[in-house]
């Protein structure tokens, strides 16, 4: 089976910072990684390769020459071939121009290398842009079936079909799709493998081929790069900090804080959970929604509600809720 994985090299957003004055991304010195969702896409392709002997996994990326490092990482995990789509003319592209360029490169590979890709894998979305558009747009451009947000996948080569479990915001959808197919992978799809020694050696020695504008004479130049990108970014800004982080040393303290904060925001919702020290717990029989006028119902409920002595003992030591209630009164207008 011919399998293709589209990956993107992204800045490691766990280290990302915005320039507070210009609001631009500070890219210098930022380590680059393979987009995390793309690692799941690659793993999905490698799993299909493991399932069907003789399969071949090609990895494709579009970006500057430094993106070779990301492709090499994919090779060290077990991909067979890597192609970089790179040209200054492709720079500044939005998702539409990017997916057109990538789709053109895929057509180019299919034609020149005589490979008909049966499944194309993409990550659900990239952590730098979060658009989740490039995968579906590639499928549209190539006129093939797509199954996005895949969290389970099974491929049947003989029947030329795949069954994909798709993740929705409030549920799952299981679809059967004919091949060729484009899948976008979620993190739930699989657990990426570790690089192997021999594949790492292979990755070190591999010569990554480049596809440039000149390699694709049929490409429509009005649809690539900055000129082919209808998207205009009006403003990028950092949302203001919403609050301070406070480290608490114990669970007890944490519980108090949670109660305090919650109590402060919506006291009526939590009032019934707080057990003040001085109020006898046993007498609170009224808030049970019992019709007190009905003597039968009342008798029954009183018996079930009034706790034994032991029960009272159990509740009494649990006084931090009461303390929290007191301190909540003191610290009005907390820092959130």
């Amino acid at each position: 089976m011919e399998l293709l994985v589209c990956i993107k090299q992204v800045p490691d957003t766990s280290e990302i910072k915005l320039d507070p004055e210009t609001n631009n991304l500070i890219r210098t010195g930022l380590p680059s990684i393979v987009n995390p969702d793309d690692m799941h896409a690659l793993e999905a392709a490698l799993a299909v390769k493991d399932q069907y002997e003789g399969s071949r996994v090609t990895v494709l990326s579009m970006g500057p020459p430094q993106a070779e490092a990301a492709l090499r990482e994919c090779l060290s995990l077990g991909a067979d071939d890597a192609v970089l789509v790179t040209d200054r003319a492709f720079g500044g592209a939005d998702t539409l121009a990017t997916s057109y360029t990538i789709a053109s490169a895929i057509r180019h590979i299919q034609r020149t290398m005589n490979r008909q890709f049966q499944i194309i894998f993409c990550g659900k979305q990239a952590i730098d842009g979060d658009t989740a558009q490039v995968g579906p747009q590639i499928a549209e451009e190539l006129g093939m079936a797509q199954a996005t947000y895949a969290c389970e996948l099974s491929v049947d080569q003989a029947a030329q079909k795949a069954v994909v479990k798709r993740q929705h915001e409030n549920g799952y959808e299981i679809v059967e799709v004919p091949l060729p197919l484009l899948v976008t992978a979620t993190a739930e799809l699989n657990e990426p493998r570790q690089p192997g020694l021999w594949s790492s050696i292979y990755a070190k020695r591999y010569t990554i081929s480049h596809i440039t504008l000149r390699d694709m004479p049929h490409i429509d130049e009005s649809r690539i790069g900055l000129t082919g990108s209808p998207t205009r970014v009006r403003k990028v800004y950092q949302p203001p900090l919403r609050g301070k982080v406070e480290m608490l040393s114990s669970i007890d303290e944490g519980a108090k804080k949670v109660l305090e904060l919650a109590y402060h925001i919506k006291p009526e919702k939590f009032a019934h959970l707080l057990v003040p020290n001085d109020v006898p717990v046993v007498d609170s029989t009224e808030d049970e929604g019992v019709d007190v006028k009905d003597p039968v119902q009342r008798a029954a409920s009183v018996e079930s509600v009034v706790p034994s002595e032991a029960k009272v003992e159990e509740i009494k030591p649990n006084t931090f809720a009461a303390e929290a209630a007191k301190s909540a009164d003191v610290s009005k207008g907390g820092d959130r």
Partner: protein, 435 residues
């Protein structure tokens, strides 16, 4: 191009720290087919030390390292401090015109080790990172048992020789039964924090100019009476601050190592130096401290051991060395292999390697200071009573209070009396003799 799993190498080097990278570099220069395997994301990612490398052995390996290596600052100032409570006595020595072969530099391992491994790669070594060697593959039994390759999870690779540069934590050697279990008495744990500072602040606070740097070692009650001490090294625009503590008594200590480090960084003499500093890193690592007597057999059939894995580290209290020894051992290993390959007799490598080590300053230096670890390890007075003694003495010397002056001799003898004249003389004699 396809993967050939039957491909073999002349030499496999396990670990791309300074010892492994030095060996690989030297071998690659002689066109030896060498595979260098590193388990960190990149060489140096898993390595840590206080900060200083004496560069005489590096210069042999990369003569123009001054122009190419990522060096932080050249050490021109040495400081040694003896602390007791809030008191501190400090000796400072500075020298502007250090001879080339006597130079030392502060380096950050994440940058330096990566650079050195890439130098090896440029010479033709095959460097593979992010792959862990999980096992040494051996063949034969008893005397004929021989290391023939390494396993990395499911993958196996074979070579004529394996150079083991796995570092302080000798998991592979111990699991293969090639060395015994490590004696905790001979090991220490190092913890380190890196504080980013404004370059001017750093230079002003320590009175440094340009690329000058400082190595500052401290001794005293910051280790809570345990074997060890604190260190501060100057990077370009940050400080490496940390502490090394003997592993053996760590469990019975009154404070955790982190608490000791916190006490150190908040010490009234240290805290002003770190003011407005931004904590960027926190790391910890094992340190071999046993010296010559803790060294294992340096090799056997099919393998040799270099660097920290061979316990080539020296701590004299005022000088701490490791990287220069590691690089030298890598060079010795490579030279032994080159001779053996020329003679087409790889079985001779362990013998030749031992011979190279003996012929170099390595064995000489390690042997010369072989009594130091024992002296430091069995003499708790050094970390408790003597720091107090020194600081009390200094206080007496500098005190003026209007109660009438005391003759110097009397001041000194009063403090000597706290410890006992004979104990003091005996310890001083033993200490100086071990150095």
């Amino acid at each position: 191009m396809a993967i050939d799993r039957n491909e073999t190498f002349d030499v496999i080097v396990v670990g791309a720290g300074p010892a492994g990278a030095a060996a690989a570099l030297r071998l690659a220069e002689q066109r030896v087919k060498v595979l260098l395997i590193e388990r960190g994301m990149a060489p140096g990612a898993k390595n840590m030390m206080g900060g200083r490398i004496y560069t005489h052995s590096l210069e042999k390996l990369v003569p123009d390292f001054r122009d190419r290596a990522p060096l932080e600052r050249k050490v021109t100032k040495e400081r040694i401090s003896i602390g007791a409570g809030n008191e501190m006595t400090t000796i400072e020595y500075s020298c502007q015109d250090v001879k080339e072969n006597e130079e030392s530099y502060v380096v950050l391992r994440a940058k330096f080790d990566k650079w050195l491994a890439e130098e090896a790669e440029k010479k033709g070594a095959l460097l593979v990172s992010n792959v862990q060697v999980t096992e040494l593959i051996t063949e034969g039994e008893g005397k004929n048992r021989r290391v023939v390759g390494v396993r990395c999870h499911d993958d196996e690779v074979y070579a004529k020789l394996v150079i083991i540069a796995e570092g302080a934590n000798t998991v592979l050697l111990e699991e293969a039964g090639l060395t015994g279990p490590t004696d905790p008495k001979t090991m220490a744990v190092g913890v380190k924090e890196v504080y980013k500072l404004k370059k001017e602040d750093l230079e002003n606070r320590l009175m440094l100019s340009g690329d000058e740097g400082m190595a500052w070692l401290t001794l005293g009650d910051m280790t809570d009476g345990l074997l060890g001490g604190g260190f501060i090294y100057t990077n370009k625009a940050s400080l490496s601050v940390g502490m090394v503590v003997g592993l053996e008594d760590i469990g019975s200590a009154g404070k955790s190592v982190d608490e000791m480090l916190e006490a150190f960084t908040s010490h009234p003499r240290i805290a002003p130096l770190l003011k407005n500093g931004q904590l960027k890193e926190h790391s910890a690592h094992l340190v071999p401290e046993g010296g010559y007597k803790a060294m294992p057999k340096l090799g056997g059939n099919g393998y040799i051991i270099v660097g920290d894995a061979a316990r080539m580290c020296m701590n004299l209290g005022y000088t701490i060395r490791g990287m220069d020894l590691a690089i030298e051992s890598g060079i010795c290993a490579a030279d032994a292999v080159n001779v053996a390959l020329r003679d087409e007799n790889m079985d001779r490598v362990p013998k030749l390697y031992e011979k190279q080590i003996k012929a170099s300053w390595l064995r000489h230096d390690l042997k010369l200071y072989k009594h130091v670890p024992k002296f430091l390890g069995t003499n708790p007075r050094i970390f408790n009573e003597y720091p107090t003694f020194v600081n009390n003495l200094m206080r007496d010397v500098f005190t003026v209070n209007g109660d009438g002056a005391v003759p110097m001799m009397k001041k000194i003898m009063r403090r000597v009396g706290d410890i006992g004249l004979f104990t003091l003389i005996r310890d001083a004699w033993k200490g100086v003799r071990s150095l």
